[in-house]
Subunit: 451 residues, 2 copies
Amino acid sequence: MTQILSAEHPDVQAFASLNSADAIERLNALDRDDVAAILAQLPLERAIAIFDRPELHHAGELIAQLPAARATALLEGMADDRAADVLLELGDGDRARLSGGLRAGTLEALRRLMRYAPRTAGSLMSTEFVSVPADWTVAQTLAYVRRVERSRETVYAIYLLDPRSHELERMVSLRRLIAGEADESVRAVAQPTDPVWVGTGTDQEEVARLIRLHDLLAIPVLDEARHVLGVVTVDDVLDALIAESTEDVHKFGGVEALDRPYMRIGFLSMIRKRAGWLSALFLGEMLTASAMQHYEDELAKAIMLTLFIPLIMSSGGNSGSQATSLLIRSLALGELRLRDWWKVALREIPTGLVLGSILGAIALLRIAIWQLGGIYDYGPHWMLLALTVAATLVGIVTFGSLSGSMLPFVLQRLGFDPASASAPFVATLVDVTGLVIYFSIAALILGGTML
Amino acid sequence: MTQILSAEHPDVQAFASLNSADAIERLNALDRDDVAAILAQLPLERAIAIFDRPELHHAGELIAQLPAARATALLEGMADDRAADVLLELGDGDRARLSGGLRAGTLEALRRLMRYAPRTAGSLMSTEFVSVPADWTVAQTLAYVRRVERSRETVYAIYLLDPRSHELERMVSLRRLIAGEADESVRAVAQPTDPVWVGTGTDQEEVARLIRLHDLLAIPVLDEARHVLGVVTVDDVLDALIAESTEDVHKFGGVEALDRPYMRIGFLSMIRKRAGWLSALFLGEMLTASAMQHYEDELAKAIMLTLFIPLIMSSGGNSGSQATSLLIRSLALGELRLRDWWKVALREIPTGLVLGSILGAIALLRIAIWQLGGIYDYGPHWMLLALTVAATLVGIVTFGSLSGSMLPFVLQRLGFDPASASAPFVATLVDVTGLVIYFSIAALILGGTML
């Protein structure tokens, strides 16, 4: 530790003049010891700006590697929501060691932040906001904002509190504040409507939805008594949204959400993240082998039937995955509620029937062309075979659309994230049923001729 | 038109006291004529705030339904990027009629905005920003901001221009500006680094990435001469990001992106959005029938082989869809570049081999248990059959992982959005090859015994 501080690291000058985002990109590519040396020697302000961003890799390990005084100064200077996240990355020993040097107020705020569940407004919020009594003047408020500006994550939304009860009364934006007359009451320039707010337990998706709906730069987090505990800013929400939509795509693809970029995941973690779902789906899909075994006699009698199994099964899976992708987004965006499931079902059944008929018609045509064109001989009962395939396609696409659209509702009803419904999961669900539909229709249409 | 203005609509009072987001939610549920009547009679400020939000349905048709003077006043009052979007929703006749009443400056700004390609910084930007000569003082700048605040979409980022060339020199945030000393030069409180900027043609995902990377509230859009043409604000980016991630999930599910919520799409549009891809995939999947026809003799000889076709094919599709979901996000987030394709390939091959071996082992176990437990009789060569299935699984999962991960790169290389790689598309790609792998391995292992 003393060694890294004894001489100036050759890159310190270069890093001092970079903007934080570029500096982080380069730091992330360097050796950990070099990064620690540079962060120890950069001007404190610059080092704080760098630690303030979640893009810096291994922030916890880095801060633990710095001299204690430096680490404490950094934690004091960082936004408190970020400082809490960094402390959470540390082992108990390091966390206790570094916490020891913090001011009592900071420590209390960080402890409170670390208690909230991940992905909630509580865990995203910063306690560094500006609030003033609602009976202040514009000039008083502006003077206060100027004084505390450096220590607040956002000053663009200022919260007006009831002078006695300290309950949240109104919100005023900095732009309206500076446009107001100095001796006016700050209430007079505030928004005339009740401020939009969330509780500490509000899910980050709902926080994002409200910020977006009301075009806010920050949303206040209130306790039961309407006291402001903190604010969630739009940039925290942006990061949370990006992370969440990455996770949704991964889940939809049937992978456990990765916690870091593709190239930075260890080989074994990557295997673990993928093998779980892949094996589970494989076990489910084994039912297809059982179903096929069940229909062994039919298969032996009419080998022609097997030719279309992949085609039929994939069509069911594809239509199911279409429906699922539509519904998980509608549920995530709040366009549909749980109670709307029957409206969706009433739409998906006719949709599935029409889509299935289109595929059925293509299949009929394909078999007829191959048969009549002499490309392949499906035997004397080719018309019945074509009819079986077409009817099955209508059935399986309808079933796929219906079950693909209902799955997100079922998951939400059971308390899971509707976005856990993955394309491979839907396909597996539809595959087994698809085989049963196929062989049942075949028995009905081909019984007495091919079967 | 005269009729709806003759008496006050009974709901006008109620709407005047709602916040914009709630008002829009209720308006969207009403009959179009009622909405037009209410919007014609609300105080102008309130009506502007409502039209300013993209959440209002049918904004174009509504504004065309209002008296011309009202419509013009609304367009003048709205943020210009939003006004341009509303004008674009109109037919040529209405657009010409309403444009006629606009001030020359507004009309010119809107015309310019309407020319930019959708999803670019140009089409997202607002021309209502604040810029001042870099040699002004803090007090001068602050006075100017106070004066123009009402007519600017954002005043939180103020751009400092070279006094002579008008090129962008520095950016100062409103918070640093108000914290500065009145007689200080505005340059002294500005950010010391070069401002981050984009061009009019920059893609919205890249704009979002930069805003997020540098924690900005707005990013300036420059022309070749470094003149500021406009700014893209964080709330515009948030909306664009949500729309884009919905689209990505839809595309990944194999649906053409819907342009409105699920329940608001006409039945026929819904069919069109889904039938295209479904039919294309179906035609592709028909190759499986051809492949099966090709192996007809093998199928007839060893009916046992057919039992595992669905299981094998779905495993290939599932592993492919996992890999695709990982890579489309990594490419979208800029974690990987096109030139990194070989690094990914070198990771996916061993990953696929391990995952395939896991599934192969499960399959071996399953066949052995069924055979030895007397649940099903796979015949005298059951061990060779089990080996064929296991070896095929290793091959197909490796092939699925590799092709699923390379597909987004190929699409990007060909100039398409890597997110167009859908799970059904990957599955179809892998299905046909999967059959060929299966029957080739079967010929190798079972040749002379079962085949």
